[in-house]
């Protein structure tokens, strides 16, 4: 198990290395931070002098080595627009994004799993149809629309929770639901399908033939067998949160996270800062996948140790 874990961690580090290198290629070979920071009609001389100021006139290999050695110590360059270390700016914002992803994941898991189990328990009865209806609605609505609705109805009209900002636990509720509802809907459907399928399998039939109720069998026998798929899919949802949903929702809710920082940096033509945000978010994605692998290994002893 320890050797397996060490291998997984090394593999994850390699993926981070490859992904960040790809980011470097895009930001330094296809274009460069100096060009991006200047208006399109800027003169050749302006560009050359800014490139020199930013050290972009050095050979690419030297720049790449600089980039990599900076990466190891957490130095992601200096934000051109804000004249501060990009990593400092990103890491200041990271806790807010992590809180948001944690909240959204909690909504996803705490709604998705029970709804899926309920739907399977009452297969083809009212609760099943209700869960299906909810899932279809939440899946087809874009997160920003759900967020906007929640702001208008719950925050502005009912005034239960604040509409924006990240002050305390209450402000986390709406954006978490805005992101998590669709994920919960997808997960509920997957869980339901998985459990209904498992319930026909001989081990579940055996459990019920020993006198265990349908609900006990769902919770204690079949759910464990769909848990592996459940965790994998939750991982995908979390991945999509980091790379997409949080960006949109942070803008809609004025949430001070990495996603909004990246959007602002794009408007500021601050390529170094965009690059830093992308590197950090990609690292989060890789960490998520690592956690998923570990969780699956803990759930299912048959998962290959290689």
């Amino acid at each position: 198990m320890l050797r397996w874990l060490a291998k997984r961690i090394i593999a994850a580090a390699l993926v981070v290395f490859v992904v960040t290198s790809l980011v470097f290629v895009v930001t330094h070979v296809f274009t460069d931070p100096a060009t991006v920071s200047l208006p399109l009609e800027a003169s050749q001389e302006d560009r050359a002098s800014r490139r020199a100021a930013l050290g972009l006139d050095r050979p690419l290999s030297v720049q790449y080595w600089d980039f990599l050695s900076g990466l190891v110590v957490g130095d992601l360059g200096e934000s051109f627009f804000q004249t501060q270390p990009a990593s400092k700016l990103v890491f200041e914002r990271l806790p807010a994004t992590l809180r948001l992803v944690a909240g959204a994941t909690a909504v996803t898991v705490l709604m998705g799993a029970p709804m899926g189990m309920l739907a399977a328990w009452w297969e083809r009865r009212f609760a099943d149809h209700a869960v299906l209806g909810f899932s279809m609605a939440s899946i087809s609505a874009p997160p920003f629309w759900i967020g906007y609705l929640l702001i208008i109805v719950i925050a502005a009209q009912l005034r239960w929770v604040p509409t924006f900002g990240s002050s305390g636990f209450k402000s986390l509720i709406l954006p978490s639901f805005a992101i998590g509802l669709a994920s919960a809907g997808r997960l509920a459907q997957m869980t339901r399908r998985g459990i209904v399928e498992e319930l026909r399998k001989p081990y579940a039939v055996t459990a019920m033939s020993r006198g265990f109720s349908r609900s006990y069998t769902i919770v204690h026998h079949t759910f464990r067998n769909v848990a592996s798929g459940f965790v994998t899919m939750t991982g995908w949802e979390v991945t999509r949160m980091f790379t997409g949903y949080t960006v949109v929702i942070e803008v809609v809710f004025s949430w001070p996270g990495v996603g909004r920082l990246a959007v602002d940096a794009i408007f500021d033509r601050d390529l170094i800062l965009v690059q830093a945000a992308v590197v950090v978010l990609a690292t989060m994605v890789v960490l998520t996948n690592l956690l998923v692998d570990i969780a699956r290994r803990l759930i299912d002893p048959r998962v290959d140790l290689a």
Binding site: P202, M208, G211, R302
Partner: protein
């Protein structure tokens, strides 16, 4: 192996009457079990034998009041010591504690993600009500009973870490966990090596004698019946076509289908389901004739056979047959 008790000495445990289980399909409802009648007494080993698809597995589950969707119990009754098992409250009490079932493939019938110990523990805790150290003790005792060496180590094993024979032993241990009075064994040795088959049958035989557990042995293999049972019922197309004590069935089969089955008794060099003595295709449940289901394959069929299914009638002491060519004693239809 001796027959245990005649009709006079056994107490009736299970009484199944006119049990009918239907599966809706595009071509109408297929009856997996069709008006089945069956009784099991105490200390009895009853065999139910029939080709694949004759409804044996559907019958086994239906006795516990269970049907896989989209099936439905459409009629008849199942009584356990006089109580109606098709009543959910009774079924909850009876399942596992009074009647326990073991299935063909123990690889998939044991939960793949729970250790042997965990699967025994949940039964002993939730269905028997044992607590603390008693659970561990009883678990070890059960594994020992089914002939598993080093039971302490095996408690920590998962099904995938065990051999086929070992898995079936564990399955039997979980079935015995709640001290049932009747064991329904649905093809418990199919798919196992011949030597292991033998060991499992011997184990079941010894356990049923020592613990006084009745066994309903479901199989397509007459060899298993000969080795294990006191009495046998032949099943065809969801119905019982013949019922007899084991010696009489083998010496003098009455139903044409039973005769065919016996002539095709499995030999090592031939598949057990192959029916040498019976011409025609094995049954296709979607195209049943209105009369006797065996009529299209029967050498003795006549017009009456095409009318309605023949009732199961008593033709001699402890002998019943459902065939128009074997008229029974007047007024004695199946009970």
């Amino acid at each position: 192996m001796s027959a245990t008790g005649g009709d006079g000495r056994t107490e009736r445990l299970l009484e199944v009457k006119d049990l009918t289980v239907g599966f809706p399909t595009r071509d109408g409802t297929v009856l997996g079990v069709d008006g089945l009648t069956l009784n099991v007494g105490s200390h009895e080993r009853l065999g139910v034998v029939g080709e694949s698809g004759s409804g044996k597995s559907v019958m086994g589950l239906a006795i516990l009041g269970m049907v896989l969707p989209p099936g439905r119990i459409m009629g008849g009754s199942v009584r356990w010591k006089g109580e109606n098992v098709l009543d959910e409250a009774v079924a909850n009490r009876v399942r596992g504690r009074e009647i326990a079932m073991i299935f063909q493939d123990p690889m998939v019938s044991l939960n793949p993600l729970k250790t042997v110990g965990a699967q025994l523990r949940e039964l002993l805790q939730r269905r028997v009500g044992l607590q603390g150290r008693a659970i561990k003790q009883r678990s070890l005792e059960l594994l020992d009973m089914v002939g598993i060496a080093n039971p302490g180590d095996r408690l920590k094993s998962y099904a995938f870490e065990l051999s086929g024979g070992m898995r079936q032993r564990v399955m039997i241990a979980t079935a015995l966990a709640c001290d049932p009075t009747l064991l329904i064994a649905d093809e418990p040795t199919t798919g196992l090596d011949v030597t292991i088959q033998d060991q499992i049958l011997t184990l079941l035989h010894n356990l049923s004698t020592e613990l006084g557990v009745s066994v309903l042995m479901i199989t397509h293999d007459l060899g298993v019946v000969a080795q294990f049972c006191d009495r046998v019922q032949v099943m065809y197309a969801g119905r019982i076509v013949e019922r007899a004590p084991i010696a009489q069935m083998f010496a003098d089969p009455q139903h044409p289908y039973s005769g065919g089955l016996l002539r095709s008794v499995p030999r090592v060099d031939r598949a057990a389901t192959e029916l040498a003595g019976i011409p025609g295709e094995p049954l296709d449940r979607a195209q049943f004739p209105p009369g006797c289901a065996f009529e299209p394959r029967c050498g003795e069929a006549h017009d009456t056979c095409r009318g309605a299914p023949p009732p199961l009638v008593k033709i001699a002491e402890r002998r019943w047959v459902a065939c128009y060519n074997r008229p029974g004693e007047a007024g004695e239809t199946s009970t």
